[in-house]
Amino acid sequence: MHERDALVYVGAWGALISTAILEVQLILLDIVRNLTAFLLSMAVIQSVIIAYAYQHLREERSSTAIMPFTSFIMLLVLVSAAITSVLACTPYLG
């Protein structure tokens, strides 16, 4: 078995588990200020690790990698526009 590849997989697994445990502990200890931003950022970081290591995006040419990347960017546009429309127009959110 190729040691280096195995190392990437196991390393990614370690990073994912550590970040998952870390976020649970930080939340339960009530340390985090902006909860939503923190948790979504952690989820994005974990997603990048998964895409890089387990989905082998690292081995793809940039022309192929642009597909999920475009999807992600467009998703950000949809989410941010939708949320902005809420925050900007809902009176009880000030």
Binding site: M42, Q46, Y54, P68, T70, V79, T84, S85
Partner: protein, 802 residues
């Protein structure tokens, strides 16, 4: 061909030309249904004091007319043309995934029939307008709305599969020498169109799914204050506005090809037109909120979308100018296809310029819901898109059928269409004060409405004449030569109609633009580069390079007949109907679907439909990726958007809620963490399994895959336990919005886990049976597991920690 062989061909075909014809014929059927509905409600509008079609029946006719015309006629007609032409135009033998292409068609047919079935169920068809606005779509409608939502989900599935197919085909299967700069404009239009469908449809499917849940099990996504109308607006219009360009771009591409051929010169500023259309594709995703100017969004948001909406008109202005300049500088042959395009351009300018007004916030508020918008929209859809497509149909008709049509009658039809469009829609600009979707109105609008209805009848006559022209051509038309227009595309270099395998030998586009067909073994001997460098006058290898049809070779493309796509498609029809008719029908549909999936897997197991990738091809910049990988990434990106839309529903509802219980009120974070670790571990096992497979250690690989299956099962077990606990505490799926979102999102995720388990199990069975699966297929399942895991990285904090 005997009757049975004929039936078998059309039910089991996976050939791109057959599928293209199926798409076009079916879309014409839906067009006729939608046309009859339009004639009926226009008749009512000519006699507002009579009761020909009133109340909900009027609204049903208007709604289904709009949905059918946009989603089940125009777009599929273009997909049909694209199916037939794109492989021929780029030098491919078929689309990249022929069976998936057939599945795409059968899902489309099933979805259209389900939509129409709405007329026959209690409460009638959907009746709140083609935009299906919330909360009326939940509160004030019958079972037909459920069927409309199911139809939308199915056509999304069809479109997604189709998108993957076209992207991979155009990216990976072009003939040598068919560089991006040489791709015909129609194929460019199709590529941009599918790239818009790719991400525009998933939010619509999510909205339709929420609609089904609200109607059938009582959730409140679209009826609550937190979700409601604004949520639906976002999901619908993120799809709805790009959809206009989805329809427009293939038609515009075809118009450009036609203009170019009949003006006897290359499209003016071709490169700039392609860049413009690319920019329009990107901008199409950034304009949807101009449909929501009156929803109370902030002025800043409205200003941004006002600017993007105004901006998107510029690429189309450039394209229109290029068409006009091509004609201006050319030696023009005024044949019917070109005349259709010229009239289409005129209507496009009228429709386009009246649309720019909608970009202004204040004017948009004034015009909204009036006949001004109806007129603008129909000038684009009927005047430009439909006339462009009819021009395209007449242009490629001799190629598709091998028959010429009656040119004089086609010109008479155009005259009728021109008069019909103007008479129907021009008065509607003047009905600027009249609200749409009312079956009766005050006396002052009677005259203009009657003129408009007269126009609708002229259009009806024009379309019936069009049908006659086509049937007449099929029965009595003169045989068409391979290239009746002296055009220069690859599709014109083959007989009319083309042989089932498209080409004898491998087409190669030489550097001087000429096309040759070379037997593969000769191509190997001579070298692709040498053939491309040779000029049309140079006899590089007299025995090797031959005009198409003279090589006398046995083609290597397989027919791939398969009943499975049809059974899978029809199973969705049965399931859809079963949703409103009753459980036995639903179960029958499920059984059919299960049978189709098993048959599909067995066929794959036996490698019955295996086809090697083309040996000689132009695939920059995707040369390092095989077609399966590119297809999987295209599909997965669409899945990302589907789940992303679901997650954005959560964030949207949550940000509109006054109070939201913290996740740990319902769910134990440590159980969630445990499940997260289980899922991550399963994916680690799978990745190691891939690594072992890469080094040929298949038994170890299978053992690790079994580990993935076990962890997947464990994950589902823990999830089931959590659900059971909530039910035991008296909570249900409809208890409150946080729990509704929890059950729906984790439920859909669990379904994806099940699919992952089944796919992995299939690989294990294959390995244990001694049939080594390809590394690419193992990687494909790995990429799928990755997306299951990525989604969970969002669901876990959303429901357990926030």
């Amino acid at each position: 061909m005997g009757a049975w062989a004929w039936v078998k061909r059309w039910l089991t075909t996976t050939n791109h030309k057959d599928i293209g014809i199926l798409y076009m014929v079916t879309s014409i059927y839906f067009f006729l249904v939608a046309g009859v509905l339009a004639t009926l409600f226009r008749t009512q509008l000519a006699f507002p004091d009579k009761e020909i079609l009133v109340g909900s029946e009027f609204n049903q006719a208007v709604t289904i007319h709009g949905l059918l015309m946009l989603l089940w006629f125009m777009s599929p007609f273009e997909v049909g043309l694209a199916n037939y032409l794109v492989p021929l135009q780029i030098g491919a033998r078929d689309l990249a995934f022929p069976r998936l292409n057939a599945l795409s068609y059968w899902l489309y047919l099933a979805s259209g029939l389900i939509l129409i079935a709405g007329f026959f169920v209690p409460g009638g068809a959907a009746d709140m307008g083609w935009t299906l606005y919330a909360p009326q779509n939940v509160l004030l409608t019958g079972d037909g709305t459920i069927l409309a939502a199911v139809a939308i989900i199915l056509i999304t599935a069809s479109v997604t599969v189709g998108t993957v197919n076209f992207v991979v085909t155009i990216a990976k299967m072009r003939a040598p020498g068919m560089t991006w700069s040489r791709i015909p404009m129609f194929t460019w239009g199709v590529l941009f169109s599918v790239l818009m469908m790719w991400l525009a449809f998933p939010p619509l499917a999510v909205g339709a799914f929420a609609l089904i849940l609200d109607k059938m099990i009582g959730t409140t996504f679209l009826t609550s204050l937190e979700g409601g109308a604004l949520l639906w607006d976002h999901l619908f219009w993120f799809f709805g506005h790009p959809e206009v360009y989805v329809l427009l771009l293939p038609a515009l591409g075809a118009m450009a090809d036609i203009v170019s051929v009949f003006a006897r010169r290359q499209l003016y500023a071709r490169r700039f037109v392609i860049i413009s259309l690319f920019i329009a594709t990107a901008l199409s995703y950034l304009v949807w909120m101009h449909h929501m100017f009156i929803t109370g969004t902030s002025l800043t948001v409205r200003k941004i979308f006002s600017v993007t909406t105004a901006l998107i008109s510029i690429p189309f202005e450039l394209a229109t100018l290029a068409l006009i300049m091509t004609l201006y500088k050319g030696r023009v042959l005024y044949r019917a296809p070109l005349l259709y395009v010229i009239v289409g351009i005129i209507f496009f300018i009228i429709g386009g310029s009246t649309g720019v007004f909608q970009a202004a916030i204040i004017l948009d508020r004034a015009f909204r819901g009036t006949y001004w918008v109806v007129a603008h929209f129909h000038y684009i859809m009927v005047g430009a898109v439909l006339l462009g497509l009819l021009g395209a149909l007449y242009f490629w008709w001799p190629k598709i059928t091998g028959r010429l049509y009656n040119e004089k009658l086609a010109k008479i039809q155009l005259l009728l269409l021109g008069v019909g469009v103007t008479t129907t829609y021009l008065p509607q600009f003047l009905l600027i004060d009249m609200p749409r979707r009312y079956y009766t109105y005050p006396e002052e609008w009677l005259g203009l409405n009657r003129i408009s209805t007269l126009g609708a009848y002229i259009l009806l006559v024009a379309f019936l004449l069009g049908l006659y022209i086509l049937l007449d051509s099929l029965v009595r038309g003169k045989p068409a030569p391979p290239n009746p227009w002296k055009a220069w595309g690859l599709e014109w270099a083959v007989p009319s109609p083309p042989p089932r395998h498209n080409y004898d030998g491998q087409p190669v586009v030489r550097e001087d633009g000429s096309i040759v067909f070379v037997p593969e073994h000769e191509l190997e001997r001579i070298g692709v580069e040498n053939v491309m460098k040779s000029s049309s006058n140079l006899e590089l290898a007299p025995k090797g390079i031959l005009p198409n049809g003279e090589a006398g070779l046995k083609h290597t493309h397989h027919e791939h007949w398969s009943m499975t796509p049809m059974i899978a498609g029809l199973s969705t029809l049965v399931m859809g109907i079963g949703l409103v008719v009753g459980k036995p029908i639903l179960l029958l549909g499920l059984a059919m679907l299960a049978a189709a999936i098993v048959k599909w897997a067995i066929d794959d197991y036996r490698e019955k439909f295996h086809e090697d990738e083309p040996r000689f091809r132009e695939d920059w910049p995707f040369s390092g990726t095989n077609k399966l990988r590119l297809g999987m990434w295209t599909f997965i990106s669409s899945e990302v958007f589907l789940f992303g839309s679901l997650i954005s529903v959560y964030l949207f509802i949550r940000s509109r809620s006054l109070a939201w219980p913290p996740g740990y009120e319902y769910h134990d974070p440590y159980i969630g963490l445990l499940n997260t670790i289980i899922l991550f571990t399963g994916t680690l096992f799978y990745s190691l399994a891939y690594l072992y497979a890469k080094h040929g250690e298949m038994i170890k690989s299978a053992a690790l895959m079994l580990g993935t299956i076990a962890t997947g099962g464990l994950f589902l077990g823990v999830k089931a336990f959590e659900w059971w606990e909530l039910f035991a505490e008296g909570y249900g799926i409809t208890s409150n919005l946080p729990l509704q979102l929890y059950f729906v999102l984790t439920g859909i995720h669990a379904l994806h886990v099940i699919v992952g388990i089944l796919a992995t199990l299939y690989l294990v069975v294959k390995i244990l049976a001694g049939r080594k699966p390809s590394l690419t297929s193992i990687l494909m399942v790995g990429i799928y597991w990755g997306i299951v895991e990525i989604v969970w990285t969002f669901l876990f904090p959303m429901f357990y920690l926030m």
